[in-house]
Symmetry: C3
Amino acid sequence: MTADRVAADPRDIPAPITRKKPAVVEALLETEEVVAEVEPGVTFRYMTFNGQIPGPLVRTRVGDTVDLTIRNPASNTMVHNVDFHAARGPGGGAEATTVAPGEEKHLRFKVTYPGAFVYHCAVGNVDYHISAGMFGLILVEPEEGLPTVDHEFYLGQHELYTNGATGQKGHHEFDFEKMAAEDPTYVLMNGEKFALGPQGYDELVVKTTDSVRVFFAVGGPNLQSHFHPIGSVWETVYRDGALASDPDRFVQTVPVAPGSSAVTTADFRVPGNYKLVDHALSRVVRKGCLAVLRSEGPENPTLFDPQ
Amino acid sequence: MTADRVAADPRDIPAPITRKKPAVVEALLETEEVVAEVEPGVTFRYMTFNGQIPGPLVRTRVGDTVDLTIRNPASNTMVHNVDFHAARGPGGGAEATTVAPGEEKHLRFKVTYPGAFVYHCAVGNVDYHISAGMFGLILVEPEEGLPTVDHEFYLGQHELYTNGATGQKGHHEFDFEKMAAEDPTYVLMNGEKFALGPQGYDELVVKTTDSVRVFFAVGGPNLQSHFHPIGSVWETVYRDGALASDPDRFVQTVPVAPGSSAVTTADFRVPGNYKLVDHALSRVVRKGCLAVLRSEGPENPTLFDPQ
Amino acid sequence: MTADRVAADPRDIPAPITRKKPAVVEALLETEEVVAEVEPGVTFRYMTFNGQIPGPLVRTRVGDTVDLTIRNPASNTMVHNVDFHAARGPGGGAEATTVAPGEEKHLRFKVTYPGAFVYHCAVGNVDYHISAGMFGLILVEPEEGLPTVDHEFYLGQHELYTNGATGQKGHHEFDFEKMAAEDPTYVLMNGEKFALGPQGYDELVVKTTDSVRVFFAVGGPNLQSHFHPIGSVWETVYRDGALASDPDRFVQTVPVAPGSSAVTTADFRVPGNYKLVDHALSRVVRKGCLAVLRSEGPENPTLFDPQ
């Protein structure tokens, strides 16, 4: 199978939960192996949940029960499964959800603590499957919900290990030795080089008066991100996605471990383009890790006045 | 000297302190150089405190005075010493405790702040001695103690740099170039590949109704860990082992710097095996970093229900 | 141009702000490209702000307006600019401040949140310019100021990628491949190997009764630091330089992301030398990352008593 796009639309998030009682939340994860471009002219055989990186954001509330279906189409070549960091049980559900091509399985689990939790494929070569794209977030809202914002965006960073040089045209195969050495060919936001922003999918668009929340997942499999909004700071940060902790305030760069997340808010009061990056900057300049948010509105010379 | 086992028994921790007044706590560290297996068929010349990795957990209370004896047996080949992160004085005691083979020295120091503090050998090639196994924890309980739990476990992660490939049979010599490049051959829990759990020393055993505390040391010498309990989360985390800070709540993956620690609690309400890992997962799959906790009790389909 | 010294004097910090109202703070950054020694016998073509690493600490208060002049002397060879993490606007000012050799530009921006924020050059090869030395701190004090201490020191860690081996005599050229691989030749405090301390510039000198604050910047461009005072702990830590968050207490080793900072306090009650290090210790032993603070006063055997 080939796909034109694997980068998840960062706006594609279920609406905030307004109900006041627990519910059963159905979730469908379909494992899709697709060949697509990392950047123009460079192809790779991705593995994904539902054809997108990161996989769909599953939105729940503390006390809910997730009713999961995982389906591995017969057209695939590999066994897959899913480990939810929000599930309480062996493997986070990995053994219970292991599906060969053509199989489908079901798991019900209760989410009991708030947070933005990573899920990922967790078969034997777990690092390979994550590196190929199989990770996403399950959000467990606290009972009282999250403060209202004007925009919620969903981004995921991970790294890709291939047998080619960064940018080398053609098809890249996966490289296990480079992964063992933690020496990636690409470090990516939403699975593609420089895909999100005015230079590509122009979907991170806000007004200068808006408030913004970012759900940021790091799949890894190996590298910590150091998440920074160039031209702003994170006004609040729930470190490690731990929504029951006190948030930090006005954080320039938040470290996010592989297999973890951050929930951040920010605003962008001066119009223009804001680069969201891993501040290990060679990953931006040389390996593709960049999303660009565009803020629209009047100039604001009190705050920012080039002369 | 050879040893059958260097992995510390994770249950081997002094009992919680119940006294209400400061005391003098005697500690004996004996530096032991031993050849042992990293995994079956692969040997390495470890350096240890008291023959175990991590070294013995020294348990104290704020205000106590530690009366340390360090002894370097005449059968050793190297000079050793110890730097306690809980000691206030030059080198954390390193100069004062430097012992050649056949020597013994003494140091008294007062512990004045709570926390779980790393200690480690700190001679000239400090990174080599830590990588060979010379690190452990000194716990300084707050005056009021820690909340009671059903189990306390003690784990330590560090990385090994050798001139062999990971898994290559035979004796491995230390490799200084790979250490300078921060490119380890093994990343280990308690000094051996996959040693702790039902597959080896089956010592991390709890009931589904139990509460568990983990004292987790990272010796390094170079790599940060990203400590995650697969199938659960850390209910509380004292980041950096800083027991005077507010703990974080429901943290999926806690970053732990080299030369630092974390004090975490968790429970395991569904029976089965739980893997405790560095979520930089290639270190688990390809370099040996894994401990497995086993939880016993009745199934809990309200929380977790494979169908 | 050549220079005898690029290491910033760690004592060279503007006085704490005592005024109670916002002001306009003038700042002049002059980009200087200079050849200097990394260690005796090893030269490199640094890029700096004002000839020092880290660049000058710009001290402001929440609500102030910074009136920045950036000047690129005609004798330089490269285009430069500056991105302030404390500025709210595209690129943190990068586009607005881009200056070719012989050019000068001006930018006014308001600082609205407290913290210790990194600034750095941010032209196309941003990682190269930071690695060559172009980073520093802008401090935004909270309205009520910071608690009074006896000493404030200013340190910056970054890493250097060259075509030579560590310690190889002669002139080193920059190496882009080693930077892409995050495999540095040197990791440095204030831009030079082992420069600060009794063995070099003996400027970190305190009394055993003194309190000390450290403003610690990590330029990167790629590596996280794990900042530890050997023989003490950080009594308070503002993680990520986020002065509006609650500080952590008694932290042995604080992780500091590239493009971030920490604001720490400590004391040194026992006389002697205290090494300030990245606790990824091979960077200290093998790559030069060390500053040494010297504490003077009477012995303190109650706290620390070698026998």
